[in-house]
Symmetry: C2
Subunit: 499 residues, 2 copies
């Protein structure tokens, strides 16, 4: 029997630099890798999402749509893939359905092939419209399970959610492990459950971060359970809070019942490209290599550092342990949402408020919305007492309908507002940029004509720094150093060492 | 059925800092972790070997025997484990049997429990004496398979070697993967083969480096095949050219048929200790994170950088590709030895010589010895033409006996010579230090009384560097610096620049 072929999604252009380099990589540092990415044999190339879109206009003075069209042109043979936050699109609020439709339509038109649609609280109703819109364009609609661990999350529950996504027209299911919490055995059980319930030909893609150091084994167990496609990042853009290395995944299958179709000579060229580029972004590097604390604390690294800076800003930096102990309680009261953007920020900030001002004495508007149902339906029950406090504080009614059903048509108004902005180019793409990031877009349109502005160091700067450091390290008095010392007009040779 | 318990050997005190920090860690930076190491539930704590012994006397002015006794005292409940290069002991030549006996006896007496005995060319005759000596002390003798990939190395061959080691009295078998070449499937096949051939109760320990990024999956498959103990390193001292993270290994078994008895709260304390200590050694850090090239090139990272510096010293830095192409040929001509100390250096240097001076125009003394049998029997046949050249160049006869059989008794002479050295303390331990590292030991004995000399940065230096960096590299005082210097009650203005 010939080995079963496993597809691979390369993450270098999106989640890898989002996780490792604060999403700062400029398009100019990606284009030279595109030919090899296009021909290496990947199932898809992930290259677009909320943070990359945001970083383009916020930090890089790049039009994200131009970036997408560049990828389309440079990778004509590849499936381009994006991460889409359901009814949120790439922004931080729910959009009315027509905006969702427009966004998907324009993304497809500009070259997107695979839409990985997810929702922070795993509410299928928040994914439905986006998936319908994808189906309408004829592109690939992937429904997503956000994996988390809680008293209410079970293998059976995840299998059931997969069924709901398939019923909604998902052509594949993504099992998304944004916090590296997915251990090998539950991965195996969930994937086996989906395959056995909905058929062995149900396509399953697995996305794991590598933060906890366990998830390459998770990918192994996932494919033993029948997973079809796994997400990896080229080795020079891998590990830490990022993902498992592509080449290692390929090599580990050697001699097993599985194989990939990846061309190692292309992978090496991709690796070498990013190995060269990465130092330019050293100022944005994450320092985490392995961290298994999240299994106990349930707090992703990014969320922890957010809470720490909030506390410090309040002069309460010493309260972090109390806040960490508060998080599981707040999460439970909110119905055990997975902690991923934006729920991680919402739960984290409320935990900080509880410690600073007393438990639920002061709710953030977002947390009140969460417990009142405005982010959708959480799997666990919201603590009714907390919901009552939210109702009282905000004078808002709790809802059970799909949150976007409450929204009025807004497309025409967005078009009108965008057209008033200096530098807008009159396209629907600009309307969508404005819709999702109104303040940043307003500024971006004004300056767009100036062209991309990289925040990376140049190779010349890196070389100069390296030289300065080499000189500085020796001058810093490590061990014994010999100096020429001029004193009173005479030069002495002096040997100096640290006392 | 309750899960099967997997033992864990912690590598933080030996191979982890050898692989990541050039073996420079001082005893003073280890002692505070010992209580937790002792009580965390490890199967053994690896803490001694050739490089740590060498680094103690060469760089740290520490007596390696004092270090061993310190560990023994601080970890009374643990199996202390060492890596022993068979008839080479911790040095780079073969020793006469009585020296081997003395070394093992003294190591056991000073507190060693588990002796992992290996030989670079996997010649059981080079391991026999050391293993007998261990048995005589009543300690644990572990026979080792050095794993490599070659046309003559097969699963069956490794299984056969395990049998020879068991026949020689090995109480367990170590499968040692020093170059991170051991993929999951061959690991499974070799371990299954050993268990099925010699009994399921044959203890198998698995040691993998993490350089290629695949070997956590290798450990998973190894335990599925029946492996009993695996080697890991606490996460803050893991990955890169080192080893897989201990905590990740523990977590990945959650919910499976396997478990460890490790106490996570102790692991976290050990992790935090080394996370704090590691920056003190940043000058010795390896920069490798993942490297799968070795699967194709067969050249371990350390060997490659050695060859590069040899070429540069000859003004032939541009010839590295030719040398890399020459390595497999030289390795094959030498009978396919695994590339590990010292064979990696011997094969590498000969490949450099072949490119610089013409193929086998000039042999190194060590390479001639290798092909003439003076390092023992290699699994593949030595190229007879190359052996003939070696014979002609060196006027030495090829041998087929155990190399150490040619050695004359040397213990009394070593004792005599050691007693002549300034600063020797008259112990057998000093004789053994001199026997293994004659030049370095001579110098070490002279300065031993000065006490340990750490090469690490102090926390104060680290803090000062951080501050200086924050202030800006421009103010770092590179070039000429002016100081006010007080000397003998007078203050001078002194201009200083590097000589």
């Amino acid at each position: 029997m010939s080995p079963r072929k496993i597809g691979v999604t390369e993450l270098a252009l999106r989640d890898a630099h989002q996780s490792l380099l604060a999403t700062r990589m400029a398009t100019e540092d990606m284009v030279d890798a595109c030919d090899d990415l296009d021909k290496a044999g990947y199932w898809s190339v992930e290259c677009w999402g909320g943070a990359t879109y945001d970083a383009c206009i916020r930090f890089l003075n790049e039009d994200p749509w131009v970036r997408l069209r560049t990828f389309r042109e440079l990778m004509p043979n590849s499936r381009l893939q994006m991460l889409l936050r359901g009814q949120n699109l790439l922004g931080y609020r729910h959009y009315e359905d027509m905006v969702v439709e427009k966004f998907v339509e324009k993304s497809a038109e500009n070259g997107m092939d695979v839409f990985r649609v997810f929702d922070a609280v795993n509410d299928p109703r928040n994914m439905a419209k986006a998936m319908q819109a994808v189906a309408k364009t004829g592109k690939h609609a992937q429904g997503t399970i956000c994996y988390t661990i809680s008293p209410v999350h079970t293998v059976e529950g995840y299998v059931k959610l997969a069924g709901q996504l398939l019923d909604m027209g998902a052509q594949s299911i993504a099992l998304k492990d944004m916090a590296a919490l997915l251990k090998p055995q539950p991965a195996y059980d969930i994937i086996r459950g989906i395959k056995e319930t909905y058929g062995e030909d149900t396509q399953i893609n697995v996305h794991c971060h590598s933060t906890t150091g366990v998830t390459l084994v998770t990918l192994q167990k996932a494919i033993e359970a029948g997973a079809d496609v796994v997400d990896t990042a080229i080795s020079s853009m891998s590990l830490g809070p990022g993902h498992n290395p592509t080449e290692s995944f390929v090599e580990m299958l050697d001699g097993t019942d599985f194989t990939t179709d990846l061309d190692m000579s292309r992978l090496i060229k991709i690796r070498d490209h990013f190995a060269k580029i990465r130092p330019k972004y050293e100022d944005f590097e994450s320092s985490v290599l392995v961290d298994t604390d999240i299994f106990a604390s349930q707090i992703p690294g990014g969320m922890l550092s957010n809470m720490e800076s909030q506390l410090r800003a309040q002069g309460a930096g010493d309260k972090i342990k109390e806040v960490m102990a508060e998080v599981p309680l707040v999460k439970a009261d909110a119905g055990h949402p997975p902690l991923v953007t934006p729920t991680s920020q919402i739960v984290g900030t409320q935990a900080v408020f509880n410690v600073l001002f007393g438990r639920y004495k002061k709710l953030t508007a977002e947390f009140a919305d969460l417990v009142l149902g405005y982010y959708g339906h959480t799997l666990g029950e919201v603590n009714p007492e907390v919901a009552k406090i939210a109702e009282e504080q905000t004078k808002k009614e709790p809802i059970t309908c799909r949150p976007a059903d409450l929204l009025k048509p807004e497309w025409d108004e967005l078009v009108r507002k965008t057209k008033e902005l200096e530098g807008n180019d009159g396209t629907d793409e600009d309307v969508l940029t404005y819709a999702q990031f109104p303040a940043v877009a307003t500024d971006f349109f004004k300056h767009r004509a100036e062209g991309p502005h990289s925040v990376a160091k140049s190779f010349a700067e890196l070389a100069a720094e390296k030289e300065a450091k080499a000189k500085g390290a020796t001058a810093a008095g490590i061990g014994t150093v010999t100096y020429n010392v001029s004193l009173g007009g005479r030069t002495h040779t002096v040997k100096v060492e640290r006392a």
